[in-house]
Symmetry: C2
Subunit: 306 residues, 2 copies
C-alpha cells in the first residue's frame, strides 16, 4: 500500500480544473445511479473508505477540529492500494470542487459577482475555487464576526482578488449574483427578503441533521432546486427542511448530477437570468471516490515518470 501525506497531495490538488473535472465525473456516475455503495461504482476500478472525524474541543488543545484519512482499494481484488493521510483536506477540496460545479449552473453573464457567507476554511476555498473556475475576480464576504470577514478579505486581496468584507447580509446579496453559504448554522441566516430575481444560491453547510443556513421560504420562491442526492437532501439538506416546512414538494428537485451531465455535454444549462435557483449540497461518497481515484492516478503517474 502506498502511504501519501498531505504534502504529497497538495501539488496535485493545485490543478483545480482537473480536480473539478474529476469530481464532475463522480457526480455524473452518482446521477446515473452507478454507485453500488456510497463509494463504489463500476465507473471506477477502485472503491474508497473515508475516515472523517470532527472533534469540536480540539482547538482548545491546539489541534484541528477535522481529521481523518482516506483509503483506496482495488474493486477487483480488495487489495488496499493507497492511504491518504490528508487530514480531511480531500473532503474540503471535493466540497470546493462541488461548489465550483454548482456555480457553473448560474446564468452566464459577463460578470457574475460572488458572495460568500462564512469565514472558515470552506469559505476561503469556495472563494478561490469558484473564482478560478469561472474566471471571477470580484467577491464579497460576510461573517457573524466582521473581524473574521475582514481577515479573509485581507488574505484574498493579497492573492490578487478584488474582495470586500461587508457587514450586512443585505449588502452582500445586493453585491452578488452567486451566493455561497458555508456556515455550520443550525437556524437560517439567509432570509427570503435578501433574495431577488437572478440569485443563484449554493448551500453547502447543511451536511448533517439539524443544520440549516437558508430560510425554507427561499426554496419556496426558487424556480430551480438542485440536489446532489435527492434522498440525502430530503433527509438532512435545505431541501428536506423546505419540504418539511411545506414550501416545496418532495418531488420538486432536479438532480445536480443530472444537471452536470448536461453541463458536461454540448448543451448549455438553461436557467433564465431572472430565475432564482438553489443548489443543495450535502456531500456524496461519489465525490470522495472521484477525488481519491484522481489523486491516486496522478501520484502513480508521477512516480512512473520519476
Amino acid at each position: 500500500m502506498h502511504i501519501f501525506t498531505l504534502a504529497d497531495i497538495l501539488p496535485i490538488i493545485k490543478h483545480k480544473a482537473l480536480v473539478i473535472d474529476a469530481v464532475r465525473s463522480g457526480f455524473v456516475a452518482h446521477a446515473k445511479g452507478d454507485m453500488l455503495m456510497s463509494a463504489m461504482s463500476p465507473a471506477y476500478p477502485y472503491f474508497c473508505i473515508k475516515v472523517a472525524s470532527g472533534f469540536y474541543n480540539n482547538p482548545s488543545k491546539g489541534l484541528p477540529v477535522n481529521n481523518g484519512c482516506v483509503m483506496l482499494l482495488s474493486a477487483e481484488t480488495g487489495t488496499p492500494l493507497a492511504l491518504f493521510q490528508d487530514e480531511g483536506y480531500m473532503t474540503s477540496v471535493r466540497t470546493a470542487a462541488a461548489g465550483a460545479l454548482a456555480a457553473e449552473l448560474a446564468p452566464l453573464k459577463t460578470a457574475n459577482r460572488l458572495g460568500i457567507l462564512g469565514t472558515g476554511h470552506q469559505a476561503r476555498l469556495q472563494a478561490r475555487w469558484i473564482a478560478a473556475h469561472l474566471g471571477l475576480e470580484t467577491l464579497s464576504i460576510w461573517g457573524r464576526s466582521s473581524e473574521n470577514a475582514q481577515a479573509v478579505a485581507t488574505e484574498l486581496t493579497k492573492d490578487g482578488f478584488n474582495v470586500r468584507a461587508v457587514t450586512s447580509l443585505s449588502e452582500l446579496c445586493e453585491m452578488s449574483d452567486i451566493i455561497v453559504t458555508t456556515t455550520p448554522a443550525t437556524t437560517p441566516i439567509l432570509s427570503a427578503s435578501h433574495i431577488r430575481a437572478g440569485h443563484h444560491i449554493i448551500a453547502l453547510g447543511a451536511d448533517s441533521p439539524g443544520k440549516t443556513e437558508i430560510d425554507s421560504a427561499i426554496l419556496g420562491r426558487a424556480d430551480y432546486i438542485f440536489t446532489d442526492d435527492h434522498a440525502q437532501c430530503l433527509h438532512h439538506g435545505e431541501f428536506g427542511a423546505a419540504v418539511r416546512a411545506g414550501y416545496v414538494s418532495d418531488q420538486q428537485d432536479s438532480s445536480f448530477g443530472q444537471a452536470l451531465s448536461v453541463v458536461a455535454g454540448p448543451i448549455a444549462p438553461t436557467i433564465e437570468p431572472n430565475a432564482i435557483s438553489v443548489v443543495d449540497l450535502t456531500g456524496l461518497g461519489a465525490q470522495d471516490l472521484a477525488i481519491s481515484a484522481f489523486i491516486y492516478t496522478a501520484l502513480m503517474e508521477n512516480m512512473h515518470m520519476a
Copy 2:
C-alpha cells in the same frame, strides 16, 4: 500516524495468553453495554475502523481471499494513531481468541478432547489457540476433503500435537468433548444425532446472513446457549436460525460476554459435565477494538524501550 505491517504485528500476536486476555476485556466491555458504537467504548482511549474485504475470485489470481486493514484513532481528538496493514490477520486472531475464551466455558475435566470441523486458516488457528489456552494436546480434525484434513493433521503433528484426521463426523464427535465448527457452510453439517451429553459446541462460521453449520435441533437440545451478542446472533447466527426454526425462544440465550465476566472473576462457570452447551460467535467490533488497542500499546511500548 504509525504504519504497522503484518511483520510488526506477528511477534506481538505470539503472546497468546495476553491476546486472549485483551479480547476478554473487549467482550466484557461489550457485555456491560459499554460500546458506544461497534468499535468505540469509554473503556478504551481509542476507537477503530476496520476495512475487511472478501473477494472469492482472488485465489485464481494468486491473491488471498481476505484482505484489509485496521485503523486506530484517538477517542479524545480523532487523530489517526496507527494503521495496521494486517492483511486480515487481526480478525483471524481475535476470532481464534474468542474460540479460546468460549472453550474456557466447557466443563472442566482432566482431559477435554478437542474436535475441529473445517480445514481452513481458522480451523488451524482454533486448534492452536484452544490447545495453548487449555493446555490440550489431543485433537481430531474433520473436513469435507479428507486430503485437506490430513494436511492440517500433518502440519499440527509436526508442531507436537497429538492429532488425528477422521473421515466421519460421528467419529469426530465420539473422540471430542469440545467441538469447534469453522466452515463457511450454508446448510447444517453437524446434525443432532452427532451430539451427546457433555458436548460443548463452539460455532463460529455463521458470521453473515445465510450461513449455518449446525442443525438447529442441537440448540433445541442444548442446556446452555451463549451468544457473543444477542441481537446480532438473532439476526445471522446459529441462534437466530434456531429461533426461526422454532427450536428455542428468542429470549433463551445467555450472553457470552457476561459468561466471560464470570470466568474473569473469582466464580468458576457452572456448566455441569453432562450438559450440552453451544456458543454462537458472530464476531464483534469490541473484539477488533480490543485487539488493535492491545497491539498498539505493545508496539508503542517496544518502541519506547528500543
